[in-house]
């Protein structure tokens, strides 16, 4: 059975989706990712979809689910690198991924997570203005 690898990077988990997902594979990813958050106590999840060419309503729902489930476990989810064509299609479809954070690339996603969790992680003491990037 195919599986999508999940990498642990400090307090964050990184998933890079590089193949076309069919529904069962997406569900496995959801399951694996949530288990991993619970095992590692990760504070953030980065999902890189920069090479994904299609996000339909099912895949959108999985992304939303991962974000909601992680949030209950005190981890924030950032979806990074969505392609313009995918973003336009999702909006037309009527899906705006409410409650999911987004960033242009992994680096910016990491920055966003650090800012969000800045105080708790004590990574920077600067009082940075909290950017509200949540899609709500």
């Amino acid at each position: 059975m195919e599986r999508i690898p999940i990498l642990k990077m400090g307090p964050f988990l990184l998933v890079t989706i590089q193949i076309d997902l069919y529904d069962r594979l997406a569900l496995t990813l959801e399951n694996d990712l949530i288990n991993m958050v619970s095992q590692t106590g990760a504070r953030g999840v980065l999902i890189d979809i920069s090479t994904v060419s299609i996000v339909d309503s099912f895949m959108g729902r999985i992304l939303g689910n991962i974000a909601s489930m992680s949030r209950i476990m005190d981890a924030e989810t950032v979806v990074v690198g969505m392609q313009p064509a995918v973003a336009i299609t999702l909006v037309e479809l009527g899906l705006t991924l409410q409650g999911v954070y987004t960033a242009l690339n992994v680096e910016k996603g990491m920055e966003l997570l650090n800012t969000k969790l800045g105080d708790n992680l004590e990574l920077d003491d600067d009082e940075e203005e909290d950017q509200d990037d949540r899609n709500d």
């Binding site: 069919y22 060419s53 299609i54 339909d56 313009p84 064509a85 299609t89 479809l93 899906l95």
Partner: protein
């Protein structure tokens, strides 16, 4: 209306979806459809093929490149012999679902393509036909 290329694919398992999507991409690339329009068509196709698998445990899809009034486009016809849709108007409504999903499949797919037609007879099955033109209008 002239049909320039035609192909039929049987969809019976979830794994058939990925090759099917690739075939739709191949057809739309062949007529020079832009990336955004390709993505819209494939996403709509993905929604419709999922419905077919979920509610009718599969069916077949006819893929065609068509030409009409100096416009070129891709036409997809999804045919199943499932239970059919009792209330089509209801099924086309945003957020309505009998299958615990977001209920965006049918109305969302309709928004993504240029032409959308749904025929369903309860007990006999459902046929959905979509057309997306090369330039998206």
């Amino acid at each position: 209306m002239i049909v320039m290329t035609k192909d039929t694919m049987e969809i019976v398992r979830e794994q058939d979806v990925v090759p099917f999507r690739n075939r739709v991409r191949e057809f739309s690339t062949r007529i020079g459809m832009s990336l955004v329009n390709q993505t819209k068509l494939i996403t709509a196709a993905s929604e419709l093929v999922r419905n077919m698998l979920k509610y009718a445990s599969g069916g077949k899809v006819i893929l065609e490149i068509i030409s009409y009034n100096a416009k070129t486009g891709v036409r997809l016809t999804f045919k199943d012999e499932g239970p059919g849709i009792p209330d089509v108007a209801m099924a086309m409504r945003d957020g309505f679902s009998t299958g615990r999903s977001l209920g965006l499949g049918l109305p969302g797919a309709k928004r993504l393509v240029n032409e959308f037609d749904l025929k369903s007879n309860p007990g006999e099955g459902t046929t959905v036909t979509v057309i997306h033109w090369k330039n998206g209008r």
